[in-house]
């Protein structure tokens, strides 16, 4: 018996395309959950990162805090929050937002820091207000690194969202855990393959996005690091 063949059979089985456990539904849940998590984390991390990057203050604190957050295993945080708030989607949202914040924060402030100081100085000298410097100079020039941070965060959330199924009826992780319970290796393997394909597809999409958001005129300057996303590698994935 070929294990992969049975997993493919499971993926293609029409029975898995109906009802509350349908594959498209699970993929949709997985994506929506990940998207919302990244949005929440962005709403917190981007303004904060821009503030740090523009003023140059609080960088040390941000580095230390992010470093600390990264060392926290997501499974631990997830189960702890789930004990407090109960089974459901709240715990995964909290735990994965914590996971997504460090890479986005780092992307935001390193994006600003990577800009030649003389460019910012010149913008100020010709009479741009601080807000104009942020809007017209720092945000566009910092975009490639911010997108890099978002890419890193999204991939980690997509990967780790699998764990969310441990405490909530959510996403593709359900197949892994229900298969584990019923000793149905085809289901576990099929579910795992789906998560991996989803992650690779998003990786590809982000690689494309990143290629297109580099402001024209600065191409080639910042694209040395996109595949080394050490942003937040400690995700429990």
């Amino acid at each position: 018996m070929n294990l992969f063949a049975s997993a493919i059979d499971w993926i293609l089985d029409p029975a898995n395309y109906v009802g509350l456990n349908a594959i498209p539904l699970r993929i949709g849940q997985h994506l929506v959950f990940s998207l919302v998590t990244v949005l929440i984390a962005s709403a917190i991390a981007i303004p904060l990162g821009y503030l740090i990057g523009h003023t140059g203050r609080g960088r040390g604190l941000a580095v230390t805090t992010s470093g600390g957050l990264r060392a926290i295993p997501t499974l631990g945080l997830l189960t702890l929050v789930a004990l407090w708030v109960g089974i459901g989607v709240v715990a995964p949202y909290v735990a994965l937002t914590v996971l997504a914040i460090p890479p986005i924060l780092a992307g935001a402030y390193t994006g600003f820091e990577a800009i030649d100081r003389r460019t910012v100085d010149a913008a100020r000298a010709v009479g741009m207000s601080e807000l104009q410097i942020v809007r017209k100079v720092e945000v566009p020039l910092g975009l490639p690194l911010l997108i890099g941070g978002l890419r890193s965060a999204t991939l980690q959330v997509i990967a780790t969202a699998t764990l969310a199924a441990y405490v909530a009826d959510l996403g593709l992780g359900r197949y892994l855990f229900s298969g584990l319970k019923t000793r149905d290796y085809a289901e576990m393997l099929g579910g795992s393959i789906l998560v991996i394909l989803l992650a690779l597809a998003l990786e590809g999409i982000f690689a494309l996005i990143q290629r297109f958001v580099v402001p024209r005129g600065v191409s080639g300057r910042l694209d040395t690091a996109p595949t080394l996303r050490t942003g937040s590698p400690t995700a429990a994935r």
Binding site: L3, F4, V63, G67, G68, R70, A71, I72, P73, L75, G76, L77, L78, T79, L80, A82, L83, P103, A106, G107, T110, L145, G148, G149, R151, S152, A159, T160, T162, L163, Y166, V167, G173, L176, L180, Y185, M188, L189, G191, S192, I193, V195, I196, A199, L200, L202, E203, T224, A225, P226, T227, L228, R229, T230, G231, P233, T234, A235, A236, R237
Partner: protein, 225 residues
């Protein structure tokens, strides 16, 4: 706190399990990534293949990979070997890029003067390029160490014992102190590994001390995206 005091033996046993699961990937990924990183830098063709492969491998989530591995290598689902291999692959994916970048960061003048003095390609790599790439490699290994320690906990959901078992057990039995103990122990172990690497860096690379003191984790942060 009472739970912790009553279960020190259990915590210690799980900590040892955790070390056994996390040390091999950290060491193995370095051993494999150095030659791969060198190969990635050496030829244009191998560079594209190896770095793209590493990038894709890095995108593969660990937990599903742990489920897939038995089908590929024939281990049993509950075998700790799956966790070790999955995390080794993850570490390789990250370190190949770091090694390649680190070797790139070696000053071309230094490389040329080393050749001019009569180093062979082989001896130049070991005695000049690799040591000079050291600070970048160290930064990468610190990331690998901390993330590996954290990722090992995931194995607990399929029953591979580690400090992560304190999370699953504490969750199922509703013991908050157990989960917190697991969190503290995991973070503590990560910091211990990290500290050991920093110390090793100081001893092995005395010429970097001043710079290291000035900008501790800068290389890792810079590469954050």
């Amino acid at each position: 706190m009472t739970w912790v005091l009553a279960n020190l033996g259990l915590i210690w046993a799980r900590t040892l399990d955790h070390v056994v699961l996390s040390l091999p990937p950290i060491v193995l990924c370095f051993v494999v990534a150095v030659p791969l990183g060198w190969l990635a830098r050496r030829y244009r063709l191998s560079r594209g293949i190896i770095l793209t492969g590493a990038g894709l491998l890095y995108a593969v989530p660990s937990l599903p990979l742990i489920f897939v591995l038995p089908a590929v290598i024939g281990t049993s689902l509950l075998s700790p070997v799956n966790v070790i291999i999955a995390l080794t692959l993850y570490g390789i994916a990250l370190m190949v890029r770091v090694v390649s970048d680190g070797l790139d960061s070696v000053d071309a003048d230094v490389r040329q003067s080393a050749s001019a003095m009569g180093y062979s390609t082989w001896s130049r790599f070991w005695q000049v390029e690799l040591p000079l790439a050291g600070p970048v490699l160290l930064a990468g290994m610190r990331v690998v160490a901390v993330s590996t320690v954290s990722l090992v906990t995931v194995g607990a959901v399929i029953g591979v014992q580690s400090l992560g078992s304190l999370f699953t057990d504490g969750f199922q039995r509703g013991i908050q102190a157990e989960i917190i103990a697991g969190l503290v122990a995991t973070v503590g172990l990560a910091l211990l590994f990290d500290g050991a690497l920093v110390l090793a860096g100081r001893v092995l690379m005395p010429w970097t001390r001043r710079i290291t003191a000035a900008k501790p984790s800068a290389p890792v942060e810079v590469s954050a995206a």
